[in-house]
Homo-oligomer: 220 residues x 2
């Protein structure tokens, strides 16, 4: 690499790059005349940071007090259940462990595969059943499977789970949008939902991390 | 869930949902008057499938013959090196193993952390060094770190690596765009690059999977 080429790059440490990235996101939101609610700002900016997609400034829907409720739950050691190993890999497990929580993904479990086959349902559905059966109150982060989100909706309605937060951000073209709309109808369950088709395991992990960093007092 | 609500969902198996999703993507590309080259179609559609973001129809840049070269390499058992554990988790390891390849991510390795600290560089840079030092020709899938991409560029220029393919899709706001532009200047190295800010570990994994499914003869 020549010195001339080097000049094209900003010589910053990774932490500085993240800080500068959030500044750029803030500037561009301002240029688009988008004002974020203080409670929602860190989550929305981190979703944009992980996708470079400003649609998340508009499509993320928060139930009232959802972020505060989730931060409080994380501080009390709440664990996170996800529907993909990608989201599990993306969540900052060190920050979560510092607070006493764990990331759980049951999608690859043999008992889940067996239960899904027997019930003629998806592994995503069966993995939400498994989480519910534990009796523990979780934060649920769904980045892939609309069937997971639908089962969570049913489990809440049946009074079998009391989620500390539902992150409903599956991505896709079939059944994804209605599955999210159902979560938006829940009255006493905190949620963060990406309305429309967009989302993904990366967005689910980014939202978890934005909450974790606030819970642990990390800047950004 | 009432029967009425159930009617709002398409009752399809996961494989059918994927097929229907790709049909919708095809229809919407047509409606946008976007025609894809046959060689590039499966990769671009899977990137859109994983993000619901049609920008990937325009920002993905392919060197001539890149897809065919990668499929051939995968069929010969080529392994994939990634810069994040999220991408590693998202790549279909069963399909890759079927062909004799593995997914490697050195980001969490102790020797990489030590080498990065000693050299005053990033772990991403050091992990590309570690891959190069193995002497094996890989497919490199970079979904996060521009420094990984820059080091790959330098290693190619130094004649120390001969990648079967470079997937250059880091996402972000600082140094990401120039790092990709450098890869686009390579003459004899196959590449697939997402021009601009967008990309991510999920996109890197989706591109790998699109190549793997073609290499194993899976439909879609």
């Amino acid at each position: 690499m020549t010195e001339q080429n080097k000049l094209h790059l900003e010589q910053l440490l990774p932490a500085e790059i993240e800080k500068r990235s959030f500044e750029i996101i803030g500037e561009e939101l301002k240029a688009r005349q988008i004002e974020l609610l203080p409670e929602q700002e860190a989550v929305i900016k981190r979703a944009i940071h992980t996708t470079a997609d400003f649609d998340y400034a508009k499509n993320l829907q928060f139930s009232s007090g959802a972020v505060f409720a989730a931060i409080e739950a994380l501080r009390q050691g709440c664990s996170i259940v996800t529907d993909t190993n990608m989201a599990r890999a993306g969540i900052n497990q060190a920050a979560l462990a510092q607070l006493g929580g764990r990331v759980l993904c049951f999608m690859g479990d043999e008992d889940v595969a067996r239960a899904a086959k027997e019930a003629g349902t998806t592994r995503a559905t069966a993995s939400m059943e498994k989480a519910a059966a534990s009796g523990e109150d979780f934060i649920y982060a769904v980045g892939n499977a609309p069937t997971a989100l639908i089962r969570l909706y049913e489990l809440v309605k049946e009074g079998r789970i009391h989620p500390k937060l539902i992150i409903g951000v599956p991505v896709g073209f079939v059944n994804v949008e209605p599955s999210k709309e159902w979560i938006l109808t829940l009255k006493d369950t905190p949620y963060i939902v990406a309305r429309g088709r967009k989302g993904g395991s990366n967005v689910a992990a980014a939202i978890c991390n934005a909450l974790l960093y606030q819970a642990t007092g990390r800047v950004l």
